[in-house]
């Protein structure tokens, strides 16, 4: 040890990504230049913005004076369709995604099974809900059946991936302990894996229930039935007061689902 004034009295965190100074500054400048050029290339037609704002104002006025009564039959039917779609697709999606999720966990399955299951997940995640909905509407016609299929398909990709990732992160010691007793693969899943991932699986399923309800409103617009179809009709007819009522209903249901699932998730920890 030397006296303390023999040591440097300044310290800076060294750059973590680009260690070469010239490259770092050059790339930062390039990003900034691109951002400015890209921003300048967006064409804004101020006249159309003004018109749009006017229409938006009418929409907001309708939203502030929602009309639940004159289209109540359509709204309630759309809601029932959406809720049915949401619940059935979540249940079916969860049932299908559990085996796929287990199959897609590297620490439990042989390589070929792993690759097939990861492939299914990749396909399901690559296609956005709207695109799948358009596809299923074209196949099976307008209505909630197409919506049900769309949401089930999307649920599989979401849940199976997150479940598989969770299984890959289980504590290996617990699995070793069960293996050491001479347990079979099924017993290993039941005793070492299931208790570790169950709270998260329940939480994710409830979260997916939320998402599926919101998505059911969106895919209705492309013809897959439910409250989205009702909303689309209302906007097409310039009935912004009914549209406002529909949006408020969706918001209330999403909030209820949010609080409800949060409460249940706390219980299962």
């Amino acid at each position: 040890m030397r006296p303390s004034d023999a040591y440097p009295n300044y310290w800076r965190k060294p750059p973590q990504i680009l260690t070469h100074r010239q490259w770092r500054i050059g790339i930062q400048l390039a990003i900034l230049a691109y951002l400015i050029l890209a921003g300048a290339s967006i064409e804004v037609d101020w006249q159309r913005v003004a018109m749009g704002l006017e229409r938006g104002q009418r929409f907001i006025m309708g939203f502030l004076q929602p009309d639940f009564s004159s289209r109540w039959r359509d709204i309630s039917q759309g809601l029932i369709e959406s809720l049915t779609m949401t619940l059935t697709s979540t249940v079916i999606g969860v049932i299908i995604s559990v085996p796929i999720g287990i199959g897609a966990a590297r620490n439990l399955t042989p390589r070929p099974v792993y690759l097939v299951c990861r492939g299914i997940i990749a396909v399901s995640r690559a296609l956005q809900e709207i695109i799948i909905a358009i596809f299923f509407v074209a196949m099976f016609g307008f209505g909630p059946f197409a919506g049900f299929l769309t949401l089930s398909f999307a649920t599989i990709g979401f849940l199976a991936k997150l479940l598989a990732d969770d299984i890959e992160e289980i504590e290996p010691g617990q699995a070793d302990a069960i293996r050491a007793t001479g347990a079979t693969w099924w017993q290993l899943i039941n005793y070492a894996v299931q208790p570790q991932v169950m709270p998260r699986l329940i939480g994710l399923s409830l979260y997916r229930l939320d998402i599926n309800f919101r998505e059911s409103a969106v895919i209705g617009i492309v013809g897959a039935g439910g409250i989205g179809a009702t909303l689309n009709t209302a906007i097409d007819r310039y009935e912004y007061d009914s549209a406002g009522a529909i949006l408020l209903t969706i918001i209330v249901i999403v909030m209820l689902a949010e609080y409800g699932s949060g409460y249940i998730r706390k219980l299962v920890q």
Binding site: E171, G173, Q174, D176, A177, I178, R179, A180, T181, G182, A183, T184, W186, Q187, N190, Y191, A192, P195, Q196, M198, P199
Partner: protein, 256 residues
């Protein structure tokens, strides 16, 4: 009882964890395995029940060579080997009773373990063992509600429900305080003596090993460098196992 011959393990990374290890443990002997971190102690006991696949060599339990077994017969042979872990490795979210009964998994069909309907003699044995380790009244608690020492007792009960002929014990006291460590070691050695069970105990703490073990094997860089009575451990043999260090605990007192 247990005969290990020419056992080697080379990991995929090329690390030679075990180099032609020969070892035999007779019935009823409690053997301590000591050595520095990375010497291959954990690998050695995990090669016995093949949680780690040995690269070559023989592991004879009775007259079965565990290394040659197919998956199915390996599972039935694993029932004969109880294992106790460093961090207890209990299933935290299951009850104490489920953890103890999981020692019977190798004996029961899937539907019984799935529905938790174990045969009545298994349940009786589980209760008896919980009583032996002093946790009878905790049987319906979740495992994560127990203290460290209690968890390790559950771990011991789970290993014993298997009705094992050999115990593999991996650092049983590494996460416990000195007093609890001694209680756990005492319980382990008592149980082994009662049942004439041989045990291989990985252990870091040399004084603890000397206090409770009947025989000490020292491992260094994958080779056995010491094998003898605990009393034979001295400065010279400890240096052979761990390398150069001042082994005299009372040096500072001596200077005073």
């Amino acid at each position: 009882m247990l005969e290990i011959a020419n056992l080697s393990k080379v990991y995929k990374t090329g690390d030679k964890a075990l180099i032609e290890v020969d070892l035999s443990v007779p019935k009823g002997q409690i053997m301590g395995l000591i050595g520095p971190s990375g010497a291959g102690k954990s690998t050695l006991i995990r090669c016995i029940n093949r949680l780690v696949e040995p690269t070559s060599g023989k592991v004879l339990l009775g007259d079965v060579d565990l290394v040659q077994l197919s998956n199915r017969s390996l599972r039935s042979q694993r029932r004969r080997i109880g294992m106790i872990f460093q961090e207890y490795s209990l299933i935290e979210r299951l009850t104490v009773m489920e953890n103890v009964l999981s020692g019977r998994l190798g004996y029961v069909p899937f539907w019984r373990s799935w529905t938790r309907r174990f045969p009545s003699q298994d349940i009786q044995r589980a209760y008896q063992l919980l009583d032996r380790v002093g946790l009878l009244e905790h049987c319906d608690k979740r495992a994560d509600a127990l203290s460290g020492g209690q968890r390790q007792r559950v771990g011991i009960a789970r290993a014993l429900t298997q009705g094992p002929e050999l115990l593999l014990v991996d650092e049983p006291t590494a996460s416990l305080d000195p007093k609890t460590s001694r209680q756990i070691m005492r319980l382990l050695t008592e149980i082994c003596t009662e049942r004439n069970l041989p045990a291989i105990v990985n252990i870091h703490d040399v004084p603890l090993a000397q206090q409770f073990m009947q025989r000490i094997v020292g491992l260094r860089a994958g080779k056995i460098v010491f094998d003898g009575h605990p009393k034979a451990l001295n400065e010279e043999t400890l240096t052979a196992i761990y390398g150069e260090e001042d082994w005299n605990p009372s040096r500072e007192e001596a200077e005073l």
